[in-house]
Structures are given as C-alpha cells and as structure tokens.
Symmetry: C2
Subunit: 354 residues, 2 copies
C-alpha cells in the first residue's frame, strides 16, 4: 500500500472498496460518521488521557486506538481516521482551541490575514500519518481505512468566522466583496489539503472523504465557485497521484445542488445528508457515483422499530446500486452503544429480508 | 377591514396584495424579513424602553412603533407586525425568556408535558391585536400590513428543545418514537395559530406569513407530516373564515421539498431562502404561487455593487411573474441602514433597467 496504488483483484478486495469501485454488493458495506467518539465509554476513557483535543488528535497512540475502538466493538467495514478538520488551519499556523461549546479560532482577517499562514510548512501534521500507519496495522484485512479532511469552503468558514457560525456573515461578506482575496485563502487550503490527504494515502488510507459540512449555505454561484471548484481541484490532483484511491465527497445540505456536485466535482462517491430522499439519490445520483448514507442520527439514538424501519427504507431504495450504508450526519454523543450493536446485526441480514 | 374580507378593486389595491393575488407588477412590491429590528438606531432606542422582550412585544405602543419605523424610513410596500413566533408558546402557558444568546424555554417533556398547556385560553395575546390596530392606523393607504406566526413544526422545536438547537434530537426523537403524542402537541399549536392569526386578521392584517425556520431538518416523511400537513390545516381554516386574505408560507431550507410544499400546503405565496436558485423558483414554483425572496442578507450587509448585481439577477429571474422582493432570511443586526436605503432606491427603478 506504500504508494496507494495496490489493487487486489475482484473477490479479495475489501467490501468498502468494491462498493466505491461501483459494484452493487448483496450486503452493502457500512460505517458511521463519528463512529469513534463520545458515545463510547472506551473513547471517553481514552480521551481523558490527553489534555487538549489537538494534543489528543496528534498523539498516534491515542488517536489510532480511538480509530480502532468502534471497529473492534461493532465490526464496521471501514475505520475512519480519528482526527479533526481543523487540524489543517492548525497546521497552517492558525491558533485553534476546542472549548466546551465547540472550536475557537483566532479569526483570519479579510485582506492581509492569510499572509502569515503556511510559512512553516506542514510538519505539524506528521503525527497524523503515524496514526494512519498504526490504525492500518491494527485493522482486519477486510476492513478499509478512510482518511479525511474538511473541504476548503467549510474549513474557510471556521478560519474566518473564528468558530461555528449561524449566519456566516464574515466569510460570505469576504467572498462576496473580494472573491480574489478570498480565493487566495481557498487556494491555500486546497494546496494544504492535497498535501495532507496525500500523506494519509501514502501512510495507508484506502480512501479519503472530504467533509463539506457547510456546503448548504451558499447560493448557486457561490456553490459552484467555493464548493465544487475547489473539490474538483483536490480530486483531480489526488487522482493524478493515486488513481486507484477513491474520493468520497460529503456536501452536507447541498439540496438542489447535489446533482451538479456529483456531475462536476470528480468524486467517486457522494455522502447524502438526512433530508435527501432515497428515490432522489437512486434516480439522480446513483447512476453516476456510489451513494453513501443516510440514516438520521436521531433514528439511531431512538433505536428499536423506528431505526429498523428507516434502515429498511434506505436499503430498499439504494441497495440495488453501488451503496455504502452510513448516517446522514455524525453519531450523536447521547446514542446508546447497544443501538449501534443492533444496527450492526440488522445490516448483517441480506437486504431483501432486512 | 373589520372582517378581513374587504377587497378594493384592481387598480386601487395595495401592490403587495396585487402580487399576492397573482398579478405580475412592473415594479414588484418589496419588504424585508426583520425589517424592524436592531440594525435601526431608532429601534434600539425604542427597545430600551421596555425591560424584557416579551413585555416589549406585548406593549402595543412600543410594538406598533417598531412595526412602523422601517416603513417610515424606507417606504416598503408592507409592514410586518413586530412580534415573535414564541409568543404562541408563551400564550399557551410555557415559560419563555429571551437571553443574550437566544430564547430559553422550559422544555415540554415527551409524554405528559402538554397536559397543562392552553388551559387559560389565549387572552395573553390580546395586546398583539391592539398592536395590529395601531399599526394599521399608522400606515399609508397603499402599504400592506402582514401578520405572522411560526409554523407548528418550528414552534414545536423550540418548545421541546427549550431553545435553538443544532441537532434537534429531542424533538425529532419524540416525533419518531411517538408520532401520536407529538401529533397532539402539533395539533395544539395548529389550533392556537388559527386563533392567533384570525385575531390578527380581524384586527387589520392584510395578509399573514407562516415562518417555518426549521422546515429543512426533516426527511421526506417528516416534512409531509409535520411541515406540510399542519400548514395545510391552518391555511384551510383561515381560507374558510377569510377567503380573500393571502397566506405566505416560508419553509426555510425546504430544498427538494419546495415544489411539494407549494403544491400541497394551500399557501398563496412561498418565501424562498437564499440558496434557492432563481431559475428553479421561476420554473417550478412561480407557475403555482407568488414567489417571495431571496436576496442573501449578507449581500445587503455588504451593499454596493455586490448587492446591485444580486438584486438584478433575482429580479431578472423572477420579476416576469408574480413576485415580491424580499431577503432569503432576516436582516442582520450589523447591516448599515444606508444599504437598505440604497436597496429602496434600486427597487424603485423599473426591472428592465435595474
């Protein structure tokens, strides 16, 4: 896997990679966004061993253990690297802290704000590649390892707003007022993301996912310019270097623009959020790419028959084509782990009787 | 206007009502969501005269003055009643407070939580009807007065979550686990909303708008059951009593489901949020209802050429059919009032040269 181009032949490939390659599997592979995290008692115990969250993410021993925990317990078809999308701004030299109520960044100022970023190279993230290597080594042969990064638009929202936002007024105002200056920030993130994901692939990631959590706040022109275009540049560059490594895009909330994203961004698979209907995804997206999603995390939290019925409906709509079962958003911290165990059992059943 | 059924003939009708009636106007009428509010210095001075926000909303002298301020300054084609969607839970007997970071409610518990609600009738909102009367009396003859309420789903999210939410897990969990019990809460809000909007119409509101700010977080089946169906029941009941009073629905974030909302909810006009493209609204919505929207509030905040170009694009797409110019979300408190003045001038120009 050293150069990311190894591709075992048909029958032996990992189920996740087969689905990402366009195969329709009788038992679709599954994993869950935020499958490693606070809902697991073993995660909380691990997390207590590091002071800050950045330190936790950059400790290969702890982060690889966090990566492996859910697979050990539930047997998903993929592990996802334990890290955070804000490690990229951190590596670029921005001050990033994780408080009780979410991340806090020293906001990048419109105009001269990006001048000091990225001066010191990108070595701050070297420990992440070691996490990938250790995670890879700890996984069963049939289990894929997914690397990830935030998409440039979403990462930029945090860098400019200084944290989570309700109105995105600073970042949008910058993008509207000075698209060239804002474009330079996006460009910086695009380049950093290519370096970062390449490093993860070289270290052993089988596939990578781009999380665009705030793709849904931009009107049409902004969506094309700040969501689709940077994504396309990243996928194109990764495909040149690692032609067999699939890229999953997750433009959460893209709504109307999902079709265009799938047609133009160059991704191999698309993550659909909780409000995307199965019929739309089947008819409009699955013909072009593998679809991944989209159980409502609240249905997983509720469990029981509610979850069973939702799972049945999603598989009924999507399991007839290339499909990876997942949530439509991350696992909620309040989720009972036994519900995830029940989901694992449910997904072990063939689709037609599920 | 006492019974809300007066309808002056063609040429004399208020421009907003003509547009809501399906006419295509050479100069489309306009108003802005949150046009009364913190971005206006005269509003901030007024607001300082009352202790709490609920007291402010329920003081007809202050609330009617807040309603009239923006029209006096900018000459919009409509005033919107100054009030808050959480006055309905307040009137039902729930404890509602407005803090620095948003509203705080004593959350309704799943199960028995609604038993005590609505016991004392609905007289707590009588001052709102007086605000409507005073606002009506203070408006120019050509200016419409819009009454409003929150849609049942959105109001329920606040009632169950106890405030703003990021994951909506309490309210969705209740709706998923116990649709009948949750349906009783929705029913209670539907009935209260009919009483409340009827009172506003009788007091002189020319039209009413239902704000469904969180319509975009529900998957397909939930959208039909908790967004469309309660809206349809409200519009049907209002139409029985006040056949000539138009209803505007604003299912913010409805994305994929806008077409269905327009086809099934019974509204006369639909508010579109900032991410809805003009071509979609023109081709898919405007054939059925009047379209209202959808300048990005951040473009208004930025002003200048950014705003001008966005306004031109929106009018270019939508002014060929029944259309009301508005924002895609509320005015941001940081908006310079002079940008709203510039918008008023811009909208005074004929569409083809705008």
């Amino acid at each position: 896997m050293e150069d990311g181009t190894e591709a075992p032949s048909g029958g032996q490939r990992k189920p996740l990679l087969r689905a990402l390659g366009g195969e329709t599997l009788e038992k679709p592979p599954w994993w869950l966004m935020r499958q490693a995290g606070r809902y697991l008692p073993e995660y909380r115990a691990l997390r207590a061993q590091a002071q800050g969250f950045v330190e936790f993410c950059l400790n290969p021993g702890l982060a690889s253990e966090a990566t492996l925990q859910p697979v050990r317990r539930f047997g998903m078809d993929a592990a996802i690297l334990f890290a955070d999308i804000l490690l990229v701004p951190y590596a670029l030299g921005q001050k990033v802290e994780f408080g009780e109520d979410g991340p806090i960044l020293e906001p990048i100022a419109e105009g001269s704000g990006i001048a000091g970023l990225g001066r010191n190279g990108f070595s701050r993230l070297d420990p992440v590649y070691e996490t990938v290597r250790r995670s890879r080594a700890g996984l069963p042969a049939e289990t894929a390892l997914i690397g990830f990064a935030g998409s440039p638009w979403t990462v930029a929202t945090y860098m400019v707003e200084g944290g989570a936002s309700r109105d995105f007024r600073r970042v949008k105002a910058w993008a509207y007022r000075d698209p060239q200056g804002f474009g330079a920030l996006i460009e910086l993130i695009v380049d950093a993301t290519i370096v970062y994901l390449s490093g993860q692939i070289i270290a052993g990631a089988d596939a990578v996912q781009l999380f665009d959590s705030w793709a849904g706040v931009l009107p049409e022109a902004g969506f094309e310019r700040w969501v689709i275009d940077p994504t396309r540049r990243i996928t194109a560059r990764l495909k040149e270097r690692f032609p067999t490594v699939p890229v999953i895009g997750f433009p959460r909330g893209a709504g109307f623009f999902y079709s265009r994203y799938v047609a133009q961004s160059g991704v191999d698979a698309v993550g659909i959020d909780t409000v995307v209907s199965g019929s739309f995804a089947r008819d409009q997206l699955q013909g072009r790419v593998t679809v991944q999603g989209n159980l409502d995390p609240v249905a997983l939290l509720v469990g029981g028959r509610v979850m069973e019925e939702e799972v049945r409906a999603i598989r009924g709509a999507l399991a007839g084509g290339p499909f990876i079962f997942n949530l439509g958003h991350g696992v909620l911290p309040q989720t009972p782990p036994e519900n995830v165990a029940a989901l694992a059992r449910l997904l072990g059943e063939p689709v037609d009787s599920a």
